[in-house]
């Protein structure tokens, strides 16, 4: 395992949390970060559950690919590595739990879930898919061993796109707008209590060391804070290692200008572009007066900066 030294402030922070939402724009490496955090937590003796969100008939599993290189996760948690289990979170499963809890009558809940109309309504109607996922997460969070200990020390959620963390955060407000009364509102409020408690939950925003991704990540951070989702930190992924000292860089630049386009200069440009965004994230964390995130070289990602298509 690489770089636990670098990632440790973030790791320390999330080690005590019950639920961690890994979020960020597509293509920044959320799944790899989730898998790496899971490995690091498991190495420190935690029992970790990684949840990925998938449509009902999803066949590929990026999370399993990142953890073990093959296989798919199932709707029930399965241990795939020592101390690490994976689960696929499906709205339908959460809907059932939700109906059971709010209807209080199992027969009625089962009948309701068998009803095509109700299932379709819950899948197509506003915010219910997110509600189903939230409910499923909370169900897993509450699971206990016979001795009373939690089955999972930490649940890591690999959220598919930026919108999802915000969508989860907005459930109560959305539901309230649509459905002003009824038992659902109380259930949802109670459900979000865990996700909004900084002692129990936090979001980890994954981004890349380029200007645009970083400014989008900072916007996402502001959005989460606005919806009272605690921010555990940032992971700046695929930060290129800078081998040059300032004198060397200047000398190389000056000399290269006289000989024309060179192999290696694209990497040098990339290294230089990465510097501003790193500073921006660090500034943001200081300004927020927030516990420090894992901002650093390759921030705990166990693969080469640009990925290797042949694994």
């Amino acid at each position: 395992m690489c770089c636990d030294r670098v990632v440790s402030p973030l790791l320390e922070r999330i080690a005590g949390l019950r639920a961690v939402m890994v979020t960020g724009k597509g293509g920044v490496g959320k799944t790899t970060v989730t898998a790496t955090l899971a490995r690091l937590l498991a190495a420190s003796g935690k029992r970790v559950l990684c949840g990925e969100i998938a449509a009902d008939q999803e066949t590929s599993s990026p999370l399993m690919a990142a953890l073990t290189g093959e296989g798919t996760s199932a709707i029930e948690p399965v241990e795939v590595l020592p101390g690490i289990a994976t689960v696929v979170l499906q709205p339908t499963r959460g809907h059932h739990a939700f109906l059971r809890d709010s209807l209080k009558i199992h027969v009625l809940a089962n009948a309701a879930m068998r009803s095509q109309v109700i299932r379709r309504f819950l899948l197509a109607a506003p915010t219910f898919p997110e509600l189903g996922i939230l409910y499923r997460v909370l169900e897993l969070e509450r699971e206990r061993l016979p001795g009373g200990r939690h089955v999972w020390d930490t649940i890591l959620l690999d959220l598919p796109a930026t919108g999802h963390a915000l969508a989860l955060a907005q459930i109560p407000a959305s539901i309230l707008r649509i459905i002003p009364g009824g038992p659902i509102v109380e259930a949802v409020r109670e459900g979000l209590r865990v996700l909004r408690d900084p002692a129990q939950a936090g979001a980890v925003i994954v981004t890349l060391p380029e200007t645009l991704p970083v400014s989008e990540a900072l916007e996402l951070a502001a959005g989460l804070v606005k919806h009272e989702i605690p921010l555990a930190g940032f992971v700046l992924n695929r930060v290129p290692v800078d081998p040059f000292d300032p004198g060397e860089r200047e000398a190389v630049r000056a000399h290269a200008a006289t000989v024309g386009p060179l192999l290696g200069m694209r990497s040098l440009d990339r290294i230089e572009r990465a510097r501003g965004p790193r500073a921006a994230v660090a500034r943001h964390l200081r300004a927020m007066d927030h516990p420090r995130g894992g901002v650093g070289g390759r921030a705990g990602v166990a693969r080469p900066p640009d990925g290797d298509p042949r694994r």
């Binding site: 009824g182 060179l262 640009d306």
Partner: protein
């Protein structure tokens, strides 16, 4: 079409503009009515769509780029407002400044779900009273923002409307970042399925023993979970919508017909990232399964193209010590790394072509494309030399 799959090494390393060759994308951008760009999130779909649209305009066509949530700077570069109710033209002086001088035009629109949905209600509801009733309904206000798959639905609906009025020769659609491949192709069907008469009927007061039993279950469940008020509101809302479903299904069918016809083509945009590639291959399978025409792959953010770059090893550096020498040896190490990546990305490209499909790698353009001239450069690299037909004499 150029770039025969059996010679992967040839087009890979040749920037088409310089080699005087057109890529497989050229006839697509020149002849098709709809070009759909699909791919995983973060692979550069929006930028690619914008560049292809620009290429179309440079070939003299009237082009619309329909995009979802573009990077703000790209929107600024193209000069499109963020919450427009209709497509906006890219100002001709801006195009001219970027070197686009032909007869073509370029419009862009950042899809606005509320506007698209409202437009559909207006077209399908026929009478003004019903339109008012629907738009004033409290649930409608939220349905238009919050229905799952709404982005996909709006993309398809907007495509339907804009393709109908024939104002544009070419529409380039930048699809929503959806993990479920081509969901937007199925979204209208799904939404129409949800708003199906049979489903809606269950919420409405009805006769018949079997339906009454089902309705009563639904009514019990909804009342107990959401409260009695909501159930009534939902009935009212769905009641107001009934009668529009036929029209919605017809739109869904029309979009499907257009997209499966030879007037459309689907391009898969990917990066060399394993997860993006896995998704691209999944999309490819899905495209074949759905029977929509596949145009080829665009490999973004790759290191495949190295033509014209010199190896620092081969450049004579004066002196053997000091920052120039040590910096130079470090640059050589970076160069070795780049060469390895180039090799890797080229075999990847060859692999994408291996199944008799077309594929092209975009060159490295130095960071993100952030302005129109960057897009023009990308358009040239993707499509080939774009001989602009201009009637007026360009100043240069």
């Amino acid at each position: 079409m150029t770039g025969s799959p059996s010679h992967p090494e040839r087009p890979v390393d040749l920037p088409f503009a310089r080699a005087g060759l057109a890529s497989f994308l050229e006839p697509l951008v020149r002849d098709k009515r709809v070009v759909v760009c699909c791919g995983a999130g973060g692979v550069g779909k929006t930028t690619t769509s914008a560049a292809l649209g620009l290429a179309g305009a440079m070939l003299g066509r009237n082009v619309l780029v329909l995009t979802i949530d573009p990077a703000r700077r790209l929107a600024e570069a193209m000069g499109i407002p963020e919450s427009a109710r209709a497509p906006s033209p890219i100002p001709p002086d801006r195009l001219a400044a970027a070197g686009v001088t032909g007869q073509g035009t370029l419009h862009a629109w950042m899809l606005n779900p509320t506007v698209v949905f409202e437009g559909m209600v207006r077209r399908l509801a026929h009478d003004e009273d019903r339109v008012r009733l629907i738009l004033a309904n409290r649930l409608y206000q939220h349905v238009s923002e919050l229905v799952a798959g709404m982005q996909e639905y709006t993309a398809a609906e907007a495509l339907y409307t804009l393709a109908e009025d024939r104002r544009y020769d070419l529409i380039v659609l930048d699809t929503p970042p959806s993990r479920n491949a081509l969901e937007f192709l199925e979204a209208p069907r799904k939404l129409a399925g949800f708003l199906d008469e049979r489903v809606v009927g269950m919420f409405l007061p009805s006769r018949g023993a079997l339906r009454a039993a089902a309705s009563s279950l639904i009514s019990t469940v909804f009342t107990r979970i959401f409260g009695a008020g909501f159930h009534e509101e939902l009935q009212e809302f769905l009641g107001a919508f009934s009668g529009m479903f036929g029209g919605m299904r017809a739109h869904a069918e029309a979009v499907r017909t257009l997209l499966t016809s030879s007037e459309a083509t689907f391009l898969l945009v990917t990066s060399p990232e394993p997860s993006a590639l896995a998704e691209a291959r999944f999309f490819h399978a899905k495209i074949d399964e759905l029977g929509v025409p596949f145009g080829g792959y665009i490999l973004n953010r790759s290191w495949a193209q190295t033509r014209g770059l010199k190896n620092p090893d081969l450049v004579q550096v004066v002196g053997t010590s000091g920052p120039v020498a040590s910096g130079w040896s470090k640059l050589s190490a970076l160069a070795d790394d780049e060469r390895r990546r180039a090799g890797r990305d080229r075999s990847l490209l060859a692999d994408l072509r291996g199944r008799g499909t077309d594929a092209i790698a975009t060159p490295h353009l130095g960071g993100a494309v952030e302005d129109l001239s960057g897009l023009v450069a990308l358009a040239g690299a993707l499509v080939g030399p774009l001989e602009q037909e201009s009637r007026t004499n360009p100043a240069t």
